[in-house]
Structures are given as structure tokens and as C-alpha cells.
Subunit: 435 residues, 2 copies
């Protein structure tokens, strides 16, 4: 197969411009999509279950008698689990166990301390109920169910509600089995903007949640943006990306396959390889050409590599790291001899895969860390999905009579400086003048 | 002054409905505002500094020769600080010190652990550059500068950029002094949607930031929503609220003033008092009537108490806590004998002020915890602004050859289950068959 991957030279004068063009991504929100989603949301808010039934019949080509047809009990999930072959089921359980163990390290606890008559602290509590959106049809991934549901359960969320569309009523046993293993509490086989609206506002049957997480198509993403504020949401994900930094000493076939593993997601996925070894870049290019025809998703891979893939030559590894920091990649593979030494220099990355053996694909399924990661440079300001996304904090403050009197003076001065006299007087009531 | 505050009885059959109506708040985004903001953002993206100068002259009635007229150096901030009287300046410093000390307890650290040849962990890093929006004119609050800038500096953010409009060129010394004390690195005297656009996309003079925090009017809030994804943002705040639970044994005047201290913010602010002591509620009502005419902002207070204030009688304190959990208030005052005993029952609240001496106003200025808190029930899923809002995490994964071989089997099985064969083969390359 012919394949032209872009080559960039980090020392070229126009490198910055090329890099910006390469990594540019802006989700365009179509006015048509927006108004469709707005009307679906208001439909669900006004008509509740009936709207859900109507939209689901129409969009998912289903034949529903009533809302009860979309409610799946826990027993249905366990039946699906039992239908999996034992090897597959055990792989899911092993992945779930590793993901759970890692996420248990993320649990945050309440704390208090007292100083000079003032108790201060933070109370950490789980959200009460969260919703997980799982795409249906061909993009139905059991690993996503684990990655979204397990952190919520580890955080102590009592009720995890999963929604998953079931086009034409076809059940995906993998997805339902993963829900059983992750401890999902309730499943509704609905999807699209109507599922998001139901979770955000509640209907007679679908309970209103506090936060909605999980990936979805443009209708789902738009609906999430519109209900943000009413409920919490996770980030709106862009296309998946990998950036591999290699010192030139990893098997080129391995690196080629690592690049493929992102490229096979979709046409907009981005695979970038950076190396100070120009010969190595040529070797990986040769591996790509040789291996590509053997891939099941070869057309998809070829398209995304041609559209958004790149080889970047840098004079040294430090420059490679600097380029990576500019990109702030979702997945960063440090395929080098001593990856620990590079860590302090990495400023922004969703997840860092260290060493030649740590294929990014391991992280997608069962390394332990979450595979829901900030894309499109948003690692500059956001984090992998985690237990902390399902916990929230309340500040704690307790003043003794004496400390309220003393600190009240400061509050009174500042409140009067801002012209807020009720604030000032509220503090002043607690000031006792010394006799 | 005549004043009708709504009374509710938590045992009444229709209580839930009344409570929902009382606390309902939905920010309406006006189509007119939206298109104005969209055009301002695209103006700034296309014309950079020149657009900033034009918008600022037009909206802030300023007479600017060039962009340099809106850039304030650190020395200008220190001059403003020196113009404050010594008592005011010391109050700001004392508040900043207390806020800094509290926030230092929130710093999160990187962690790693190794188990059976797999190193896992999380690297925690500060954002590189953040923007702080500070409203200008009459709502210019130095305390907001401290509360937004200090957590960023404690997190280790290198560059904190403040934007604050300066209508008609009038300088607010309090705000600039607070910026000096908080360690703000650069100030631009611009505001509105144009300031948000400049921070999100950068111009020739204003550097692009990673996250924008701070309150603003509807144009600012709309602009923040539109640039979300390009940069991180904090929550879009609704009107401020206080919920006081009192056992009936606090001075009614104190409680009345605490309610006033929220009500004086704006017409939509909400002040609610819950008590199992009906006589006490009457006493507070009497205090309100007596004290109201003495207040500088009496009209504003009367309007917000009449519009959105309420007294709620509950049969006991536990029911009061249950009602509070339904509301998920921004500020919760537990004006009771033993507030610690109630803490485990509080599920959702932005900040909890414990005991009769802990006026909420202390928390607004100098208790230590942040005064940027989740409003309108969003405490169900969000937290006070904190150091954690300016740090982000990268997952760490490092497999040895042996562990990659073993765990790779699980990844391979699951990847093939999902039909992602490049993922599977990337893992399989690292599997060594035993001889």
C-alpha cells in the first residue's frame, strides 16, 4: 500500500507552524445538531418516559411497548456474563481487578486541623448517583464500561446508572458482562441526546443523576455540553492520540504497531513518532509499509496516518521532550532506556507509558490506570478520569468565641473596604471588646 | 419596612414542591448575548491586540493609544499597595496569609508503587499559566483576587495573569494591592468577553493561558462557556446562597445579620433559615424587621429576602439536615451546640460553618478556605476552588519484560473481543512464549 506520512524536522525554522497545523483540532458544533439536541432535551423534560420511548423507537429502530422494555435488571447482566466464554470472562475480571486496585490509591480522605482556636478542614464525600454513557453498536467497548464505572464505585457512589443504546434490540454480551463485573446498579438501553437528557433531568423511570461521564457521538457530546451545570460532566473527548518518543533502540515493528493501535480508532486519530535517530525513523516507516497490508483495519489506519500522522526528527531526546510538552499528548510512550530520568521533564501528558515493554494498548485494558484521558492538548489543564471525579469536598470552618473575635476584625476591615456592611456587622457581632 | 418572607413547614404534604420552586435556578443564555459574545471572540482571534484596544475603548469608555496602555507592570501594583492605609493593607496581608496556609494543605503529590514487575503511579504537575478574571467597577472585590490567585500560586503555577476592566480608566487600589500581595505576575486592564477571548487564544501581547477562573457578568460567563475545551474553566457561578440551621439558641440578631450578609450581594441571592424552634424563627423575623432599616443596602436585602428568602420549620435537627442535603447549599451554617456531631450526616455543601461564632462572613475573607464555592445545588457534584484546580495528573505505567508478557495476554484477549487487532498485536509483540 502507498502511504505518505509527514516528516518534520524540529530544527527547521517553520517547525512551530507545522506542529500547530498538525495538532490543531477544533470540534465544530453544527447549528443543525445543536437545535436537534435542544428539541430532544426539551421533549424529554416535558414528556419524560413517553419521549424516551418515542425517540428510542425512532433512532434505534426498536419496537418498544413501554418504558419497561428498556430497563435491564441486574440478573440480565449476570446472564450475559454467563454467556461469555470462560477465557473472555476471566480476562474481564482480571482487568477489572487491576483497574480497581489502582483506583483505590486515588481515594481522597477528609482532613481537619486546629490552630489557635480555629478548626479548618475539608470533608470529602462521594456523589450520590452518577450516570455512565456507553456507546452502542460497533463502538461498544466493555473496557469503557470498566474504566468509567469502577472509579465511581471505588469513590463510594451508591448508585451507578448505565445507559447504552441497543440498536435494533441487539444485545452486546461483552458490555453487559462488564457492567455486572464493574458493579453497575441499573441499566437502561437508551442512547443519544435523549439518554443524556433523561439522566440530567430525570423521568418517571430514569433517576436524575449528579454527574454524567462516558464517550459518545456528536449528539451525545452536544447534549452533555447543554446539560453541564444542571449536572457535572467529564471532558468532551476529541480524537485519540499517541506520541512515541524513541531513542531508536526499540524493535521498529513494535513501534509501528503501537502507532497503528491509535490509528485504528478512527480517521482523525493521531499517531506521532519522535526520535533523534533518523535511520530509526526510516526503519519504522519501512515496518509500517510492510505491516500495514496485514492489518484488518488497514484502510482506516492508512487514512489516519496520512491525515494526521507524523515522524518528527529532533537533535536529541531533550528536544523530543520539549516538543511533547508543546503537544501535551493524551498517550505518551517513552520507548527509551531510562524513562524514569525523563519523568521530571514531562510537563503535560494524559498517561505516560515507560520503557520498551509498556505498549500503550496495555493501558487501554488492564494496566490499572484509566483509559479515559485528556485529548487534543487538554492535558495542559486536565487529568485522567479518576476516583476524584466522583468525590467532592466541603470546606470546614469552626471558630471559638476568642478566635472569632480576633479574626472578625480582619473580616470587618475587608468587608467595609468592599462596601459590604452586612458582612462586616455579621463579623462584628462576634467581636468582644476587652474590658 | 414591610417584608414578607416565605414560611415553609417541612411536614406539609406539598413541601417538596415548594422547596423545589424556592431553590429553582436556571441561567438563561440569551440568543442576543450569545451572538454578541461569539462575534467578540472571533474579533479577538482575528485581530488580536487591535480588537482588544477597540472593544476596551468602546465598552469601558477608555481612551487608549495602544495595547501598552492596558498592561500594568508589577511596580504599578506595588504603588497601589503603598497607597492603602496601613490598617487596610495589614488586613489584606493577614487574610492572604491565612488563605495561603489553608491551601498549602491541599497540595497533592506524585506517587508511584511497584507490584510484581509493574510500576504504577500518578505524576502531579502544576498548570503552566492561568488567567484570573476580576470584575471591575462597583463589584471589584480584593478578596476575590486573593481567593483565585493564591491557590494557583500554591499549586506552583509559574505565571498568573489577571485581567480586570477599568471603566473610564478608574483604578481600584484595593484590587491592585491584593494582586501584589497574592503574587499575580501580570495584569491587563481589560474585561468582558474580549478579555476571556484574549486569555483563551492569546494575542500579540496577552499570552494564551491553560485555565481561566473568576466570576463575571453574563458576557463573561457566556464567553467562558464558549472557550471551554480550548482552555479549562471553573464553574459558572449562580447567585450566592446561605442556609442556616439553628437549634434556636443563637442570638436572633446574629442570625438575622448572617442572612443579610448573603442577601446584600444581589437581588437573586438566597438566604434560608431552618430551625425546629418555631418561636426562634419568629424572633429572627422580628430581628430582621428591626435591623433592616439600619442597613446600607436595605432595599437590595429586602428584595432578595422577599424573592428568594425562606424560614423552614422542621420537627427536629435531623430533618433540617435532610432538607439541607436536598438543597446542597453553597454556604451552610450549623449554628448549633455540637456541630461536629452533624458533620457525618451532611452529604452536600460547598462550605460548612460550624458553631454560633463562625459567621459565614469570616469565610468570605480570612478564615482560610476558599470563598469560590459551588452554587445552585452544584455542591452535589463540585467542590470549592482549590489548589487541585490548578494541578493535573499524568498516569504512570512501566512494565518489565516479564510483566508485559503476562499482562499482555489479558490485553490481547480484550482487544480481540473489541475487534481492535492492532491493539492486540501491539500487546502480543511483547509476549514471550516460554521454552
Amino acid at each position: 500500500m502507498s502511504l505518505d506520512i509527514q516528516w518534520l524536522d524540529a530544527t527547521a525554522e517553520d517547525f512551530s507552524t507545522h506542529l500547530n497545523t498538525l495538532t490543531a483540532w477544533e470540534a465544530v458544533s453544527d447549528q443543525q445538531v445543536l437545535s436537534t439536541v435542544q428539541s430532544i432535551i426539551s421533549g424529554v423534560r416535558q414528556q419524560g418516559d413517553q419521549a424516551l420511548v418515542d425517540y428510542t423507537c425512532r433512532f434505534d429502530q426498536r419496537n418498544l411497548a413501554s418504558i419497561t422494555d428498556v430497563c435491564l435488571g441486574i440478573e440480565t447482566l449476570h446472564e450475559a456474563r454467563q454467556r461469555l466464554n470462560i477465557n473472555d470472562e476471566q480476562a474481564l475480571v482480571a482487568a477489572a481487578d487491576r483497574v480497581r486496585q489502582y483506583h483505590e490509591k486515588q481515594v481522597q480522605s477528609s482532613w481537619q486541623y486546629e490552630e489557635e482556636g480555629v478548626l479548618l478542614g475539608q470533608q470529602v464525600t462521594p456523589m450520590a448517583r452518577v450516570g455512565i454513557y456507553v456507546p452502542g453498536g460497533k463502538a461498544a467497548y466493555p473496557s469503557s464500561v470498566l474504566m468509567n464505572a469502577i472509579p465511581a464505585k471505588v469513590a463510594g457512589v451508591k448508585e451507578v446508572i448505565m445507559v447504552v443504546p441497543m440498536p435494533k434490540g441487539v444485545v452486546n454480551d461483552w458490555v453487559l458482562a462488564a457492567a455486572a463485573i464493574a458493579g453497575v446498579d441499573k441499566v437502561f438501553t437508551i442512547g443519544g441526546a435523549q439518554a443524556i437528557a433523561a439522566l440530567a433531568y430525570g423521568t418517571e423511570s430514569v433517576p436524575k443523576v449528579d454527574k454524567i461521564v462516558g464517550p459518545g457521538n456528536i449528539y451525545v457530546a452536544t447534549a452533555k455540553q447543554l446539560v453541564f451545570g444542571q449536572v457535572g460532566i467529564d471532558m468532551i473527548a476529541g480524537p485519540s492520540e499517541i506520541l512515541v518518543i524513541c531513542d531508536g533502540k526499540t524493535d521498529p515493528d513494535w513501534i509501528a504497531m503501537d502507532l497503528f493501535s491509535q490509528a485504528e480508532h478512527d480517521e482523525d486519530a493521531q499517531s506521532i513518532l519522535i526520535s533523534p535517530d533518523r535511520d530509526f525513523l526510516h526503519k519504522v516507516e519501512a515496518s509500517i509499509k510492510r505491516l500495514l497490508p496485514t492489518m484488518e483495519r488497514k484502510d482506516l489506519i492508512a487514512t489516519s496516518l496520512a491525515n494526521r500522522g507524523a515522524f518528527i526528527w529532533t537533535p536529541d531526546i531533550d528536544t523530543a521532550v520539549a516538543v511533547s510538552n508543546q503537544i501535551a499528548p493524551e498517550h505518551l510512550e517513552l520507548s527509551v532506556e531510562n524513562p524514569q530520568a525523563l519523568l521530571p521533564k514531562i510537563q503535560h501528558a494524559g498517561a505516560i507509558f515507560m520503557g520498551r515493554y509498556t505498549a500503550e494498548a496495555l493501558g487501554d485494558y488492564c494496566a490499572g490506570p484509566n483509559h479515559v484521558l485528556p485529548t487534543s492538548g487538554t492535558a495542559r489543564f486536565s487529568s485522567p478520569l479518576g476516583v476524584y471525579d466522583f468525590q467532592k469536598r466541603s470546606s470546614l470552618v469552626c471558630f471559638s468565641a476568642e478566635s472569632a473575635s480576633e479574626i472578625g476584625q480582619i473580616a470587618s476591615t475587608l468587608a467595609r473596604g468592599e462596601g459590604l456592611t452586612a458582612h462586616a456587622r455579621s463579623a462584628e457581632y462576634r467581636i468582644t471588646t476587652k474590658e
